[in-house]
């Protein structure tokens, strides 16, 4: 095995090693497959198709020998098990899809394959992406590599844990209300939710279709930029995907932040937010100010109702999206059912977990006759006001917004499971970004006194991921102490 392989291998490094011939894809992929096996206790993966991944790696090596130079040729990448992979079981971490093998790839998977990547495994998640702790998976909870008695965050907890523990150089996640950014924050890695429409949702198991986006989870901003460029672009299979030209996000990483106005929402920084999180995030603003950026206080007046809007709209959309799981065409069918109505009801009650059922029922409520106007329509109009808060701030005051990603660092298992609302509060800073369709990125910015990672969130104008990358890269370079590897993952 090549002496250059280490857990710290980034996507960029791995691609360069393989392209130069210093290491083969089979060596690199085997290395990470062995690491996944050695750290099975984290439960970060639901499916690890070892032989298939090695076959893909061998094919990548053969392609390289033929002169192939695809940007990710031979690089192993993990994929959240909400994203369809042809021929490889995709479960959405649910009993109802526990036996589902997709007949096609999601567009984002096709794009990774066209870039030469090897799909090394399917990562664990909160069931149907509904959760903030990865405690609702049918396949068991994921452990945070920083403290195995704590959650990694969710719903992309498996992807976050896998990248933090260096089980793969990068992973794909999805984000509907914070499910890339919040676990990235709790696990000390970079996580990016692109502008709504930047990345195709075709082949991604739908939770809330007006909010869902796919994005990369990586250890470095540079890796995030490489993957973001590859994943983005119009897809005829996804009518909501944007036809806008995809910039080279890697080029944006070197841009100066001099003169960049950084908005700091006053509503986000008051007592109630963890003082350590507050201090770490404000230190990021100070670090960028030292490079010529201009911090400015802004107001997002409708911040306090974001959670309520989300917990009307997302469950409403989920109740429609999850109606397809009926035991007829795929997935679990209740063996006890007699007659079609029982097939539907028993299949779904048996197949879905508690959180999923709770959200479906909320969705049914807010869409039902007599309540539709007061809840669903009202929430849609309030969503307009939330989006307007951001657009007003970007029009009049700032080019970028800085905020905490999560109000706290990683919490212990079962600490918030008894009270759904306590769990939902984890996403108060991330949800408004989905509602407004904006790009948001979480970047590690330090540690609390217990040594747990803290993340800072950068929020940008629609389709201005370049400014996010510029600021994130500038901060990352200026403060390397904000990142390190967890202990015990050698």
């Amino acid at each position: 095995m090549s002496g250059t392989l280490s857990p710290e291998l980034s996507v960029v490094d791995a691609a360069r090693l393989i392209a130069s011939g210093e290491a083969s894809s089979v060596e690199v992929t085997s290395y990470f497959l062995d690491r996944i096996e050695a750290h099975r206790d984290l439960n970060a993966f639901i499916e690890v198709p070892r032989e298939r991944a090695l076959a893909e790696a061998a094919e990548a090596d053969a392609e390289r020998a033929r002169g192939g130079r695809a940007p990710l040729l031979g690089v192993p990448i993990a994929v959240k098990d909400l994203i369809l992979t042809k021929g490889v079981r995709t479960t959405a971490a649910s009993k109802i899809l526990s036996n589902f093998v997709p007949p096609y790839d999601a567009t984002v998977v096709t794009k990774l394959r066209e870039a030469g990547a090897v799909i090394v495994g399917k990562t664990n998640l909160d069931e149907f992406a509904m959760g903030s702790s990865n405690e609702t998976s049918y396949f068991g909870p994921v452990k945070n590599p920083w403290d195995r008695e704590r959650v990694p965050g969710g719903s992309s907890g498996g992807s976050a844990a896998a990248v933090a523990a260096r089980l793969a150089p990068a992973a794909l996640g999805t984000d509907t209300g914070g499910s890339i950014r919040q676990p990235a924050s709790l696990c000390g890695i970079v996580g990016m939710k692109p502008t709504y429409g930047r990345v195709s949702r075709y082949g991604v198991v739908a939770y809330a279709s007006s909010l869902d986006q796919v994005g990369p989870m990586t250890r470095t901003v540079a890796d995030c930029a490489v993957l973001s460029t590859i994943l983005s672009g119009r897809d005829p299979h996804d009518a909501t995907s944007s036809a806008r030209t995809v910039p080279d996000f890697s080029a944006a990483c070197g841009r100066s932040v001099k003169g960049l106005r950084i908005g700091i929402p006053k509503e986000y920084f008051v007592s109630g937010l963890s003082p350590e999180v507050k201090e770490a995030v404000l230190r990021v603003a100070a670090t960028l100010e030292a490079q010529g950026a201009i911090p400015v206080e802004i107001s997002l007046p409708h911040s306090e109702v974001g959670l309520a809007v989300y917990y009307v709209l997302a469950p409403a959309e989920a109740s429609s999206n999850l109606a397809r799981y009926d035991g007829i065409r795929y997935g679990h069918r209740s063996p006890e059912a007699k007659g079609l109505t029982e097939v539907y009801r028993k299949t779904r009650s048996e197949g879905f977990g508690k959180e999923v059922k709770r959200r479906i029922v909320i969705g049914s409520f807010v869409l039902s006759s007599g309540y539709y106007d007061a809840y669903y329509l009202k929430a849609q109009k309030t969503r307009t006001l939330i989006a307007r808060d951001f657009s007003d701030a970007f029009r009049d005051h700032c080019d970028l917004i800085i905020a905490p990603t999560s109000p706290t660092t990683a919490f212990k298992f079962n600490e918030k499971t008894a009270d759904p609302l306590a769990m939902y509060l984890n996403d108060i800073f991330t949800i408004p970004v989905n509602l407004a369709g904006l790009p948001g990125m979480s970047v590690p910015c330090g540690f609390d006194q217990a040594g747990l990672p803290i993340g800072v969130q950068f929020i940008g104008r629609p389709f201005d991921e370049e400014t996010l990358f510029a600021a994130a890269a500038a901060y990352e370079q200026a403060d390397p102490s904000a990142r390190r590897a967890p202990a015990g993952i050698e």
Partner: protein, 110 residues
């Protein structure tokens, strides 16, 4: 009130729901009312909806609804037959199938 202060009081309010209303919602959701814990679900829903009721205080006069954040409107394509998934691959996923059909329990019961 700022976001953290306001949301720290989320547990105080409740939106009363009857057990019958919850059971009706469970059926509307195509879930099984016999196997679900209606009482527990009712308690959780009341708490969640109690927080959501904050929306009633928002002034949305003359505000249009936002249904999605996409720039795209009326995306069309040619009405042509294109590639489709192999029927065997699709039917292979069904819990019960026969030939080119998915088999389901009797619809007319009794």
């Amino acid at each position: 009130m700022a976001i953290s202060q306001r949301n720290s009081h989320v547990s105080e309010k409740s939106h009363p729901l009857s057990a019958e209303a919850v059971e009706k919602l469970v059926k509307l959701s195509a879930l099984d009312p016999i196997s679900e814990d209606i009482a527990h679900l009712r308690s959780e829903l009341e708490k969640i909806l109690g927080h959501v009721d904050i929306l009633q205080s928002v002034n949305v006069a003359d505000v249009d609804a936002t249904s999605h954040a996409s720039e795209a409107l009326n995306v069309f394509r040619e009405d042509r037959i294109g590639e489709h998934l192999p029927i065997g691959d699709v039917l292979g996923q069904a819990p019960d199938s026969s030939g080119r059909y998915i088999r389901v329990p009797l619809i007319i019961e009794g």
